[in-house]
Symmetry: C2
């Protein structure tokens, strides 16, 4: 009774979330010593999710080296836990037979994940090593595009005909045993054409009498998903309707697979990560990336930013005479641009988030756009007053203070407008609003900021 002391539980809870730093050090040492046995021992002794966390602390070179020294430590479960870029580096090192061996015991969706990033010829070589049945199942995943429901779905699910009772179903499951998916939540009730008619939660089945009919217990299917639906869309439906699983149906309306919430959690995290990095102008990033990888994923957006920064400088160049006459303009102008850029980014983050969660639609776009402009105006007035006072004290020039205040109001109102209008416009044209909005918005705020401040100064001060 007292074998489980609370202290032990607490220990486990606290450590479960943190990567084992000491183990990272031991693994790095084993790789440096080229000690395959030690590498295998270290990776085998922890849960695949922990082993993956430990490997993700190392550099790509170290991980490739580990895969060369101890290929058999990279089990299917471990491969499916790893970030795709690291997985890619490992499967490059492994032989096709070793990969085939590793994926043998995985569910087909996880196995497809491992195979997804392989070069076509390597994938063919791996598939030639597995059983005919497995090959057919795996190939069916690749009939669907990446990042779709069809690619993600599990091919194993539990379906029962409408006329079955609870007793029939339980007897069937006891007989099927190992052929059932590892874990499942819903039993899909299908008609003679194998179209899903409803679902019975397993917990519902458990508490119902043996003679109850599935057709009486089943609840309506709120959502059925087609294989070509984007994974982000599918995840949104899970989140919105609090689903645990959802049936995937083919063109003929037949049940063909099942999506489960645990896979959707991964999708949600991945899409959130993509949005956040995209907003900051990073194409893709893994912590194990080399310097070259990092440069490659960031340089394109820096190039775009350089072009827009030069554009903004072109605006400044128009007012060279004013700048030469009043050097205080050069000192103050970055403040106007910086405040506009910040206000625009705030507005943009709210908009991108609202678009991702489907809260910003054509029904409320007008109201939200007006709100953003007004918010910009109000903040503009507040900070115009503050900045005008600072400028007046600093340069003892009340006209200059008035100019920077007015420019601030103008720029922050445009910042609010750009922050919401740019992502909405990008979405209208079918682009991802997270990806390129940021650079457009700061271009607007730089150009408007410099133009308003220096233009007003040229008119009023000179």
């Amino acid at each position: 009774m007292s074998e489980i002391a609370p202290e032990i539980e607490i220990e486990e809870t606290a450590s479960a979330a943190e990567t084992d730093i000491a183990a990272v050090g031991r693994l790095a040492a084993a790789i440096a010593d080229r000690d395959g046995l030690a590498i295998r021992g270290l990776l085998d002794e922890c849960h695949p999710a922990d082993a993956a966390d430990i490997l993700e602390q190392l550099s790509k070179e170290q991980v490739s080296q580990a895969a060369k020294l101890a290929p058999e430590a990279f089990t299917g479960e471990l491969l499916s836990e790893l970030q795709w870029d690291l997985r890619d580096d490992i499967t490059e090192v492994l032989e096709p037979q070793q990969i085939a061996e590793a994926i043998r015991d995985l569910d087909s969706d996880d196995a497809a994940l491992v195979l997804e990033e392989l070069d076509d010829d390597v994938r063919e070589a791996v598939l030639s090593e597995v059983s005919d049945e497995d090959r057919t199942l795996l190939e069916s995943h690749f009939e669907h595009e990446e990042e779709t429901a069809g690619r993600l779905m599990q091919r194993d699910f539990v379906a029962a005909p409408e006329h079955w009772t609870v007793g029939d179903t339980i007897d069937h499951m006891r007989a099927a045993g190992e052929d059932l998916p590892d874990v499942f939540f819903d039993i899909y009730v299908v008609n003679a054409a194998f179209a899903p008619m409803g679902a019975v939660a397993v917990s519902q089945l458990m508490r119902s009498k043996r003679d109850a009919r599935l057709s009486d217990l089943m609840s309506d299917l709120r959502v059925t998903i087609e294989p070509d639906v984007d994974q982000e869309e599918a995840a949104y439906l899970f989140e919105k309707y609090h689903l645990f699983s959802a049936p995937v149906i083919d063109e003929a309306g037949r049940l063909t697979g099942m999506l489960t919430i645990d896979d959707m959690v991964d999708v949600i995290q991945e899409e959130n990560k993509e949005d956040m990095l995209a907003l900051a102008g990073v194409n893709d990033a893994g912590l194990s990336d080399s310097v070259i990888d990092s440069v490659r994923s960031r340089a394109p957006w820096l190039l775009v930013n350089l072009a827009t920064a030069i554009l903004a400088s072109g605006v400044i160049a128009i007012f060279e005479d004013a700048l030469a006459a009043v050097v205080a303009l050069a000192v103050l102008m970055p403040i106007v641009a910086s405040m506009g850029g910040n206000a625009g980014t705030q507005s943009l983050a709210v908009a991108v988030r609202a678009i991702a969660s489907r809260d910003l639609t054509s029904a409320n776009a007008r109201r939200v756009i007006i709100r953003e402009i007004l918010t910009g105006l109000v903040n503009g007035v507040i900070f115009a007053v503050v900045m005008a006072l600072v400028a007046a004290l600093w340069f003892q020039n009340w006209t200059l203070a008035g100019v920077i205040g007015l420019a601030m109001v103008i720029n922050l109102a445009f910042a609010g407008l750009a922050g919401i209008a740019v992502p909405l416009a990008l979405r209208r044209f079918g682009a991802d609003p997270a990806v390129s909005s940021s650079v457009f918005v700061t271009t607007v705020t730089d150009v408007i900021g410099f133009f308003a401040f220096l233009g007003l100064a040229a008119i009023i001060l000179l």
Copy 2:
């Protein structure tokens, strides 16, 4: 058999993700007409998740008005689906008895969610309207802090003693019927002290023979969670170990509640939203926010940004003589600052994301810091060459070109360093790295950018 035509399914799939714009218009019209019956009819006819989406398209004033006109339309399910700020506005309008009526049929965790934001006296009034049993259950949620496992957990769960067989368990569940949670995935096997010893997935129970013992079927508990664990930490454990539910244990090690994956999906989304908004300098944001709400959530960070922008301007002011002598410096200096700001933000987004996913730890921090600096250096050299050529062509001045190139290399290297060092330092001091990193990083890149460019110019050009 053919009642379910594929077309119908496709319709449902496509429409399920999108908010019904027409319904938003009808609801807005009903509110404008002060037609309580129509409001109730519109909200009742859709799924609570859809009704919540429709309401979230309206302004706060419209929603409050709807709650006044049709209080009974705001069922517990609808309230629990709404964003907290809108829920707050509605419960302000409803009478305590109406709130008590609404939450009657909710699970205790959802009911606690609705009560959470109420003023203390309103909450007391609501609690005095519910049964003693429900009140005790609800009050137990409020013993735990907001955003902890204790606040989120369900108090209903299924526990079975070690010596039970599959048959005992199924018989018990059939008898318990309505008293069981609506949906559950795991049966916790407890010892005589009510400490959880393992778990049996319901799907596992279903396919096992009636005489199999739970203690033979159960798998080890990978994770047990204490009530005071932060919800983000709990969600991370679910994600990492692909959990569907996890037991919550009290100080004595007794099973006291259960967390389920659907609640964790909400936590993950909320934490992601917070991080993304925090990086952009927005404290909190709902689409239904008024202009005043928006100003309040954004002005604080704009004020901080103004202070740092003035600091950067102070750096510029040091070099007034150089600016007065060479006006091209004023034209070009924002480019150096802008490129640094962008590179720093890229590095920062990668770091914040890696910290949130626990991939950036003390084991790899040194390697990643060096990588970020080198990435900044390499990008710095690339864009130094590009920008030097542009400057040389523009101003026909190769010395100026050399100065801006050199300043670019320096600023981008510091940008890479600041992008990763600032969030790591904030975390070391116990602050949320997402919240204030951005403003520190751009301050560094502005100050270094202006100092390097204008300082080098003052030395070399004058």
